[in-house]
Amino acid sequence: MKSIFLGIDVGSVSMNIVAIDDNAEVIFDLYTRTNGQPLEVIKKGLFQLRDVLPSTYKVAGVGTTGSGRQLAGVMVGADIVKNEITAHAMATTFFIPNARTIFEIGGQDSKLIILENGIVTDFAMNTVCAAGTGSFLDHQSERLGVPIEEFGDLALTAKRNVRIAGRCTVFAESDMIAKQQYGFSKPEIINGLCEALVRNYINNLGRGKRLQPPYVFQGGVAANKGIKAAFEREINDKVIVPKYYNVMGAVGVALLAREYIKETGYQSNFRGHEAVELDFEPSAFECSGCSNYCEVIKVEVNNKTVAMWGDRCGKWTNSIGQVG
């Protein structure tokens, strides 16, 4: 029986599952769009994994990350639940131990992580606005009628530079139309968008930070060669896109699960592929116990409450008692 460790990254746009073996070799990776249905997609993903893996493998540890990490953690029975910044840094330092700067651009958030000797020393994350993230490009691709997958290659064919106002998704559109009137081609406009995204990213997140090579670029947007090229122009240096760039968060949390289980010797809490078929029903209610009016999240399976969180005082969290 060989042990495998799962990492599940539930983000705003994609859900990724990665399985690594005892030697931290990636043996399965899956990148799917959530389409607003994270739970369904996790179920499907786990079945897909089961179909691919030989029966000699046993899931020895599971970790979850991303903005949906808590719910996903309850659903699969995670051993560790970790924020995506630490998870990404973990994966990057595993593959590229000397990395100093990580650009991570996902669907709705972007992160900049600064490392020193494999230790995170600083990070920044977008806060008030999603300009400079994958969703920005998604919207523009819809408007231009160019599939997002073709964006990068098209951008590379641009012959001239055009500057597009990319701070706001809405204003970017009017600027794009204006620039089209000036006679710029589609590839040039797309290239302009890529540069606007990078400019935003560096201005928002890189402010006051010293960026040093080697640079690593990951997250779903790293698939876009146009953005990679724009980054390289902006910082005037080579940018590395790792092999598993789009599932790095999941890889990181799988690595963390592996270390965690190895260190503690615990049995995994993993519910098994089949258990996931149970109907997990998350719901939220406003607690009226005090003036905090906390939004409490409750997860039920077969009308039995299995998890609660979101309350500040612990009244509901503690009401479940010690489980697992």
Binding site: S67, I85, T86, I119, M125, E259, S291, R312, C313
Partner: protein, 389 residues
């Protein structure tokens, strides 16, 4: 005369002072979503978040029947000193014609303070006023001392929520049992007994993590507007101390500098190297407290500021240099009604991972210890706290 006031920090102090002087106090409700909504609706859009929250608080207090509002003024280029003017106009526009009694700093406008003083003094003798002030002054020190204990010990509580409940009880104790300055000691003993009865986990000294919170006074002091950041950090297993406490504020702002034993003068001196002049608000204090927390061996700093707060933005721009030179990690969070809890939680968790890995690396000078090991050690400690079931 039914009196109310802005809600900031341990509000029972203001209540106590007014009550001892025989005024009827209308307790402003603790700011909630509704308060923010009211404040945002009626305040100027580009005013800062504290002004908006206080607008909301005033409206709620007036709805509850308050007739007069008491607030502090202050000085310096930050707009906070001008809040009452804006509030008076905002309230007038919505149809409230109530008086706002302002206490500016004594050194700024002696006669105005004097006239405000006589309004609050009412028919009480000077001796009584003196005793009332003495009581509240002592109470503020006592409560702040206790609160520091709470935000320290709560990091290690065995049953989640015990310290928060105790802290609430302590405030009730002071409210119900303190009437003269002599009562303070007795009640304090009782409060300590309450805290000492709570079971805490034993953590080796070198594994304890201490975080200092600096920034603009209102968002630092009022938990309901900063998403209970102290409690959140405590629940992640770290000790917390703030830059601003009410007793400190009283000592620095209200007590004439000749008699003041405020710690803040020392803090301002510590800031000189990075920011020579006071630029308004609490920017210089924020900078000074970063140095102070560093000197006291804290492991990380969180800077809180209202979105768009100019003094704190200036401080924020100095921070990368300080952080680099002192070698202490700093996280800046800007707060307004738009802030999302999930985003803040993620950043706090990641920040604590960073703080811990830096701390443990320093202890392990061999540098063999990897990020994985460090994260894992913390994971084990935090396992139960993250709600994994």
């Amino acid at each position: 005369m039914k009196i109310s006031f802005p809600y900031m920090g341990t509000t029972i102090l203001y209540k106590k002072l007014l009550e001892i002087l025989g005024h009827e106090v209308i307790m402003p409700p603790r700011p909630t979503r509704k308060t923010f909504d009211l404040g945002v609706k009626y305040s100027p859009e580009f005013a800062c978040f504290p002004l908006k929250v206080i607008t909301g608080t005033y409206i709620e207090a007036l709805e509850k029947g308050a007739e007069v509002l008491v607030t502090s003024g202050g000085h310096g280029p930050c707009r906070a000193g001008f809040y009452h003017e804006v509030h008076e106009r905002v309230l007038k526009n919505i149809g409230y014609d109530n008086e706002i009694i302002v206490f500016d700093a004594l050194k700024d406008n002696f006669f105005k303070v004097l006239s405000s003083f006589f309004k609050i003094k009412a028919n009480n003798s000077f001796a009584k006023v003196k005793e009332a002030i003495k009581t509240v002054y002592k109470m503020s020190y006592s409560l702040d001392k206790l609160e520091k204990e709470v935000t320290k010990r709560r990091a290690y509580e065995v049953t989640k929520g015990e310290f928060t409940t105790a802290w609430r009880k302590i405030k009730e104790l002071y409210d119900n049992k303190v009437f003269t300055s002599e009562d303070v000691e007795k009640v304090e003993l009782e409060a300590y007994e309450l805290l000492n009865s709570i079971k805490i986990k034993e953590i080796p000294e070198q594994e304890k993590i201490r975080i200092g919170i600096v920034g603009e006074i209102y968002v630092v002091m009022e938990p309901s507007v900063n998403m209970e950041i102290e409690e959140t950090l405590n629940s992640l297993g770290v000790e917390v101390e703030r830059s601003q406490y009410l007793s400190e504020w009283i000592e620095f702002t209200l007590v004439p500098s000749r008699y003041s034993k405020s710690h803040e003068y020392e803090i301002l001196k510590k800031a000189d190297k990075w920011l020579e002049i006071g630029i308004g608000g609490h920017a210089k204090q924020s900078v000074g407290f970063i140095v102070d927390f560093y000197d006291r061996g804290f492991d990380g700093i969180i800077q809180l500021m209202p979105f768009g707060c100019l003094p704190e933005l200036v401080a924020q721009s100095i921070i990368p240099k300080m952080s680099n030179e002192l070698g202490i990690p700093v996280l800046s969070l800007s707060i307004d009604e738009q802030i999302g809890n999930a985003n803040v939680q993620t950043r706090l968790e990641a920040f604590l991972d960073l703080v811990k890995s830096i701390k443990f690396e320093k202890q392990n000078k061999s540098n063999i210890i990897s990020l994985q090991d460090i994260i894992n050690r913390n994971r084990i400690a935090n396992r139960t706290k993250e709600g994994i079931l």
